[in-house]
């Protein structure tokens, strides 16, 4: 087990290196001058620009710039924000915590909704199956920001007393914080739950057609025992995998949802950074998000191996 984790983590290193190259190139390939962008103005004397360039090391060869940048990155230095001139990392971490909470709640919601509807669909077939799949098909076509906008519209029209833009920090009011996260998390979770639901259904149906389930039925085990001990346990693997793989879309979606519900998370930070051409922030967020996705993929692999004894990576 430990070896598996180590191998997986080691595999991450070259990919992370590639990710850092992409992030570096994205920001250096900008139209216009990086030094100008960092000064936030186009009306600088050429001498002043040259000084900024020398300070930032922009007069050196590109590969040397990259190595210097990477070295700082490894020490946790993501550079300074162009707008506030404070280290990006300090600004990013509290926002990352908010986004992590939103994503976690949304992930759990999606898992609960997806697994239960998929299970119901596979267990009862017939009309339930038809209904669940119909609803799934429709919900799959409703993007999360449309769900969020419609929720905001409905609340505004019919439930004006529900404060949907009242984000409360966790430390001041934990319960109020959870309450304010529910609707945003739901809009984020809906589309993801469809994927989980469809995969759960397929997995349960596949397992239920296997011989050992038929034996269990033949020897007269109760249907509920078969469902929980045999089917659900074996269908867990795909559910875990799919949920883990959907993390990327949850993280991407949180940008939209946080902007709509005015939640001060990483997504809103990114949105502000993009509109304000605050490139170090964009770069830092892209790096952090990619790292999280990679880490979760490793976790999914490990969880996969834990749940399913047939999986081995030797």
């Amino acid at each position: 087990m430990r070896r598996l984790v180590l191998i997986r983590l080691a595999w991450m290193l070259p990919i992370l290196l590639g990710v850092s190259v992409v992030a570096f190139v994205l920001m250096r390939a900008l139209p216009g001058d990086f030094a100008q962008a960092s000064a936030g103005t186009t009306e600088l004397a050429p001498e002043a620009l040259n000084i900024i360039r020398r300070d930032m090391g922009l007069d050196r060869p590109v590969w040397e710039q990259y190595l210097r940048w990477l070295g700082k990155l490894l020490k946790g230095d993501f550079g300074d924000s162009f707008t506030t001139h404070k280290p990006v990392l300090g600004e990013l971490l509290p926002r990352l915590a908010v986004t992590a909470e939103l994503t976690l709640i949304a992930g759990l919601m999606a898992m609960a909704m997806g697994a239960s509807s998929g299970l119901a669909s596979a267990r009862w077939r017939g009309r339930t199956d038809w209904l669940v799949r119909g609803i799934n098909g429709l919900f799959l076509a409703v993007p999360n920001f449309v769900v969020a906008t419609l929720i905001v519209l409905l609340a505004g029209l019919y439930f004006p007393e529900v404060g949907i833009f009242n984000y409360t920090p966790f430390l001041t009011d934990p319960l109020g914080n959870l309450g304010s996260m529910l609707l945003p998390a739901f809009s984020l979770a809906l589309a993801v739950s469809v994927t989980i639901s469809e995969n759960t259904r397929a997995a349960v149906l596949e397992v239920s057609s296997q011989d050992f389930v038929m034996v269990a039925r033949a020897k007269g085990l109760r249907p509920s025992t078969i469902l929980w001990q045999y089917l659900v346990r074996n269908a867990l693997t795909p559910i875990i995998t799919v949920t883990g793989l959907q993390l990327a879309s949850l993280l991407g979606g949180s940008i939209l949802i946080e902007t709509i519900f005015t939640i001060p998370g990483m997504g809103q930070y990114l949105f502000d950074a993009v509109s304000g051409r605050n490139y170090p922030v964009v770069q830092a967020i892209v790096l952090v998000a990619a790292t999280i996705v990679l880490l979760v993929n490793v976790l999914v692999d490990v969880a996969y191996a834990r749940v399913d004894a047939r999986v081995s990576y030797e």
Partner: protein
Amino acid sequence: MSERQRLGGGNAMMSVGLLMLASLVAITLFGTLIAPYNPSETSADSLAGPTAAHWLGTDSIGRDLLSRLIVGGRTTLLITFVAVTLAVCCGLVLGLFCGYVGGLADQVVMRILDVVFAFPVFLLAIAVVAALGPSVPNLILTIAIVYTPRLARVVRGPVLSVKRWDHVEAARSVGVSEFNIATRHVLPLIVSPVLVETSLTLAQTIFTITALSFLGLGPPPPDPNWGAMLSEARQFMELAPLAVIGPAAAIVFATLTFIVLANGLRERLDVASR
């Protein structure tokens, strides 16, 4: 079975999908002709409800919503169609090359693609648009960059198995060039999964494009587009709910079209569900 039968008949899902697609294509091609008003033309009655003159009402500066919806659809769909065509072409070339040639070249390209897969799609799209600047050509380029790796992977898989089939060996033994084998004897056999994936990519692209526009990173004004319309309508949503519901319904309809089409194709062409 004729080609037409193979792609069209006998599948309700497929027929519905094609019908929906036809309406989207009609809007894309003839949007400016169908629209009853000039979408940028303002009038005195702003935020009006539905009337005989303005079926869906007007927006905050008195522009006809239905016209904006139709012309906005044209912008959104045009970018989507062109971008996905580009991504599919690049994905086909890359996937066919990697799968067919194999070896070191394949390994190198696939490891590079692994890097791209590490980024959440939407985040990568935002970063690329932020770097390039929002304009129609840049949006098309962004979508192509983001989705080409996915399509390449979908193409590569089946190519790996098809290239070992007997007819490929037979073609090689009678001296058909490697290029012709790849394009004439392998490519036609992998069309089915690529068609299904193309349809799914179209659905995802509608999401990405409208979401980028929603955040203000879409095609620049004054041309309307669904994402920006939805975002702008939020300001006056209690006064003019139709201004929110209109673009929302349009986005859902377009996405649904390609999902239905993908399911129809999958059933029709008997592609194993992922």
